[in-house]
């Protein structure tokens, strides 16, 4: 039971008039797992999430959350989800505290339980001191944090965050990312959409890459990168016999290319992380002294480029 996915969706489809916004998307999110939907503007992230949360009629597909089917038990599914919309959806003329009380009640909390959850959640998002102020007087970053808080109050099994850091200052952004990281640790399943590659890399256990309504690839970061078959670049800074170092390195199994560049040697290798120890051992006998090593792995940006033929952001 514990390892059953919290979210399971399959073959989601949605058409807006002529435009096929989501076309056969399906994935699973396990308890404690953070799943990222990574894709450019208009890829279909919000549309997918809206269907999962029961906010948008599906043209096809199934959704199960915490064992409940969205078609048969929409109430149960919604109770299990904490939905954080892409745009701040709060009452600006109410205080942060009043907003959280309102949304807590909408999720069925009441009494002491509500009061405790509101207090704890304010603490988590760092807004305890501003709780009595009107939301309209909050900074953009603070509004975003409260927006997230409103979705976490009722301890959802699945927290759905739609681009929670869009247009946020670096400080709030870090706070938000830290909050999301902590949630995974608490066993909450997180579905996180973004078009920031760095966020997906930092937060997500698994990433689904979505483009033009289709899930073009899915897996852990390493799986995705490996699937693309991109090779790592290893940059060795060294003193002494650089040409000798290059020659020795080139003979290490897994290294495809080695060349002297400036004050060091650059290698192109498959699975560079694994062959680093052997590489350094070989370098011992080369007559050059390696002063630093940098491994540059291909990132999701490269994966996206490879899969779709275009950059993640224009």
């Amino acid at each position: 039971m514990d390892n059953d996915p919290v979210l399971w969706c399959k073959d989601l489809r949605k058409r807006f008039k002529e435009r096929l916004a989501v076309d056969g998307v399906g994935f699973e999110v396990a308890p404690g797992e953070t799943y990222g939907l990574l894709g450019p503007n208009g890829a279909g992230k919000t549309t997918t999430i809206s269907m999962i949360c029961g906010l948008l009629r599906r043209d096809g597909g199934e959704v199960t959350v915490a064992g409940a089917s969205l078609d048969r038990d929409p109430g149960q599914v919604k109770a299990a989800i904490g939905y954080v919309p892409q745009d701040v959806a709060l009452y600006p003329d109410l205080s942060g505290l009043e907003n959280l009380r309102f949304w807590g009640r909408m999720y069925g909390l009441a009494g002491r339980d509500l009061a405790e959850r509101v207090e704890a959640t304010l603490e988590v998002v760092g807004l305890t001191e501003r709780a009595g102020d009107r939301v309209a007087d909050y900074s953009g970053g603070m509004q975003r944090r409260l927006n997230i808080a409103a979705g976490m109050l009722h301890r959802p099994r699945l927290l759905v965050l739609d681009e929670p850091t869009a247009g946020v200052d670096p400080q709030s952004r870090n706070a938000i990312l830290a909050n999301v990281e902590a949630l995974g640790g608490e066993g909450i399943a997180v579905l996180y959409t973004t078009h920031y590659m760095e966020e997906a890399e930092r937060l997500c256990d698994r990433v689904g890459i979505i483009d033009q309504g289709r899930l073009v690839a899915e897996g852990t970061r390493r799986e995705l990168v490996a699937r693309v078959g991109e090779r790592d670049r290893i940059e060795l800074a060294a003193t002494g016999d650089l040409a000798g170092l290059a020659a020795v390195a080139a003979r290490v199994d897994g290294v495809d290319e080695a060349s002297v560049v400036g004050g060091g040697v650059h290698l192109v290798a498959r699975d560079g992380r694994r062959l680093l120890p052997r590489l350094l051992e070989a370098a011992e006998h080369s007559g050059a002294e390696v002063t630093s090593v940098e491994l540059v792995e291909p990132d999701l940006e490269a994966v996206f480029l490879h899969l779709t033929g275009k950059a993640l952001r224009d």
Binding site: S50, G54, L55, G75, P85, A89, L94, M106, Y107, A150
Partner: protein, 388 residues
């Protein structure tokens, strides 16, 4: 229950909106008071009053025009305060009013301004003169206050706001003059506060409901409604909660005018249970209007800006400015296309003709039909837009 909680939250937000409170609570009461006092008991003879203007400016001119227009007064101009005092002493006029220099600037700037009321100590001015003069002054004070408030809050110019405040009071004023000239029919019509209180109840509850659509539009625009749909709450409950929020405001305003009219202005509402059912039913009509407008309009400013003009226009057609008994037949028929006319018919039947609830059953049924039709249409539209 969530719908009640939503309505409670809406009332809390309203309680913080001072401009809305002003229009919902204060303005109707002020207008009822001023119009009721000025034209409550039409004086048979006009009493002579002297006016000396020391250069009071445009607002001074307005005040003087108000005194001249007052049916209780026969206003005469004097060149300076001394000439005026002399006239008062000699009994040529029963009292005098001095409009001081700088009156206009002071009021505009929000500083207190004083007009001097000149009387002869040996011969106090007759009560109707005092009442009529203070009513005209009070009315201007209320208008200026309203305009200053609106200018500050809504960002319109002071003069635009003042013109609006005056227009609101004006339309109704002519009413009373006309109503008192009809003679024969008057026995069937309530007079004084007994007319202005129900007329303003109907007028304001409707205007407030039109403007109240803004809340629903904002909630939709902000994505708050959508977020509610993501909680374990049915669409029906959410729509019910939104309707209940509008209903609470309409009923609150109706009840305030009802109670203030009864306790402060001595309005005889007739059969109280019947009157309460009528207020409630009309609040439901307002709810329907607010929900429907909230489902069709795209932004909140549209709702707040069309509220007063549309409400006043329908109020004129529906007998809130003058009784429909005095208008030609075709206008009366047109008026009854709108709920205001039915509500006014019912109030007049209760107040002036001593009808009971069975006597206004037809009007109540028509109003209920308006409410049901409007709410059904609004629900249908909202469900369609929310389903995605």
């Amino acid at each position: 229950m969530k719908a009640l909680m939503m309505a409670g939250s809406a009332l809390r937000r309203l309680a913080r909106d001072r401009l809305a409170l002003f229009f919902i609570v204060l303005l109707p009461v002020v207008i009822i008071a001023v119009i009721g006092i000025t034209f409550g008991d039409a004086a048979s003879e006009r009493l002579p009053v002297g006016i000396a203007d020391e250069g009071a400016g445009p607002l001074g001119d307005q005040l003087r025009a108000g005194l001249v227009a007052s049916p209780a007064l026969d206003a005469r101009a004097y060149d300076d305060p001394d000439a005026l005092r002399k006239a008062v002493r000699r009994g040529v006029v029963s009292a005098g009013v001095v409009l001081p220099a700088g009156y206009d600037q002071a009021l505009r700037a929000g500083r207190p301004a004083e007009v001097t009321f000149v009387v002869d100590q040996t011969r106090p001015a007759p009560a109707p003169v005092r009442t009529a003069v203070s009513a005209v002054v009070a009315r201007q004070a209320a208008e200026v206050k309203a305009a200053r408030f609106a200018a500050e809050r809504a960002g319109v110019s002071f003069d635009t706001a003042l013109a609006r405040a005056r227009a609101l009071a004006d339309g109704q004023e002519q009413v009373r003059v006309e109503a008192t000239t009809i003679g024969g029919r008057e026995d069937a019509l309530p007079t004084g506060f007994n007319y202005t209180a129900p007329a303003n109840l109907v007028l304001f509850v409707f205007i407030t409901s039109l403007a109240g659509a803004a809340g629903l539009i904002e909630a939709r625009r902000l994505g708050v409604i959508r977020r509610m749909l993501a909680t374990p709450t049915t669409t029906a409950t959410i729509l019910f909660g939104e309707a209940l929020s509008r209903f609470a405001v309409a009923l609150l305003q109706g009840m305030i005018i009802f109670v203030v009219g009864w306790l402060v202005f001595g309005v005889d509402w007739g059969d109280p249970p019947a009157a309460l059912v009528l207020v409630l039913t009309f609040a439901l009509v307002g709810t329907g209007v607010g929900m429907l407008l909230g489902s069709v309009l795209g932004n909140a400013e549209q709702a707040t800006s069309i509220g007063p003009p549309v409400g006043i226009a329908l109020g004129m057609l529906g007998g809130c400015m003058w009784p429909l008994a005095i208008v030609p037949e075709p206008m009366r028929v047109i008026g009854h296309l709108f709920p205001q006319a039915w509500a006014m018919d019912a109030f007049i039947a209760l107040i002036a003709k001593g009808a009971t609830i069975t006597g206004i059953a037809l009007q109540l049924a028509v109003l209920a039909a308006f409410a049901v039709a409007l709410l059904a249409l609004a629900t249908w539209r909202l469900r369609k837009t929310l389903a995605g």
